[in-house]
Symmetry: D2
Subunit: 146 residues, 4 copies
């Protein structure tokens, strides 16, 4: 089952499917789940993992909102998708950095997940910035042409 195909079947998407954004949605969905699991696993460890629990819970919440907002294609809200992708990159980088300090398998897996999520959100953000430039050019052109 693919969330990317699901988005491509949205009635307003048609040929205009943004693959990088679809990929970021899928990664942020996974990262929300992995960070939720890591927060729980950290709380069962014997060493002091409180900062790691905090960052994992925060990252899970941010990834969750990011993937849900970035999934939608009805009407328009692209600028909000851009700001959510940016804050998601931020949350993932902070969580990756903290998880990378710990030697547990779950922390190492979570750090990799956060790193991949940040990369995919970055790539999606660039395509949206490109589109924004293209839109700006079109609208400048239309203005000049008027």
């Amino acid at each position: 089952m693919s969330i990317e195909q699901m988005i491509s079947e949205h009635p307003d998407v048609g040929d205009d499917y943004n693959g990088a954004l679809g990929q970021a949605v899928r990664r942020a969905m996974y990262c929300a789940a992995i960070c939720n699991s890591c927060a729980d696993a950290c709380s069962a460890e014997d060493m002091d993992m409180r900062q790691c629990i905090r960052l994992c819970m925060d990252c899970s919440d941010v990834c969750e909102a990011t993937y849900r907002v970035s999934t939608r294609r009805t009407g328009h809200n692209r600028q909000l998708i851009r700001t959510m992708l940016a804050v998601c990159i931020h949350a993932c980088q902070l969580c990756e950095e903290e998880c990378a300090r710990h030697d547990n398998d779950h922390c190492r897996r979570c750090a990799r997940m956060c790193s991949e999520c940040a990369e995919d959100c970055q790539r999606a953000l660039e395509t949206l910035n490109d589109e924004a430039h293209a839109d700006a050019e079109v609208s400048t052109f239309e203005h000049d042409a008027a």
Copy 2:
């Protein structure tokens, strides 16, 4: 990246990994995302999709809570996992039934997703019920032995 492997790396899990429950977590995570997408796609359709939007949003919320609760392995809360799996099966069946009435690709995909999620939650629920029976037997045995 696998949420099932992540759960198996929890410090309290060890050899005791419940594969059916891990699979249900993954499916419910996906089903939350697919239903969130279907609610949005339905709102862009020209026909009256209000009942479908409602059931997809409800199903997404229930799947989300189900997968998050069912992921955790610290301490114990198995009885709550059981009741959440049961309500998730219920939500998925209602959403599948409604989505199956519509001819859109996204509704058909969402119906399949809900059906698969309900099946996996059912399978996971049975393993937990079996464990509960086993626990009850052990505790009866312990009681008799005392």
Copy 3:
């Protein structure tokens, strides 16, 4: 700002506003927030709070889904509201019991919150069960009259 008034302004509600259900929505919304805060506060305590963190996170997730599902009035999904209210009562009772074991102000506050939420969900559940009985009577009557 009142979530109860908001629900009463839904176009399909009219004179049919269920006050007990509106009250349960507000309490479950608060309980989701209080449990989220208690999980975080518990992880900062020096004693072993892992079981309490687990139950607070679980309860927060369940309350969140419960209030979101129980808010909606478009079309119909009353049976799912009933099952979510029931699982919410369960989650709140488990969390209250665990929090009541600890002497921290935040745990005591969280225990009270869970207790109030369970009561309000119980009251709302009873009104929905009454309505279900009434519906069943009406439909028996209609059947007899036919």
Copy 4:
């Protein structure tokens, strides 16, 4: 029951309670609930409300993540709270603008809610920016003093 008092009872908070941030948490919690309700009510209206449904669902998701992240006080993640407050202001302004276009009671209530939430997040953001300046001064001072 008060989420602000709850946060003030966190073991790491002590005298250092940020009232403006506590108020923003409460407002964002409410705004998540009101926007979730407005999206549902909009889908029951007879006119074309698809853009309003979209913005309300997006705003609900963002407010939800914002209040959950902004609640936590264990360890530190203040920079992420700042970026979430900023994106929450953005989401609320977009949603307010759209809801203000419609004459339904629920849209007018949602617009007011979004406006209040944006204001409180702005106020909280300013206190955090002030603290950041203060920290920077302290750390400059400490550096100079070393």
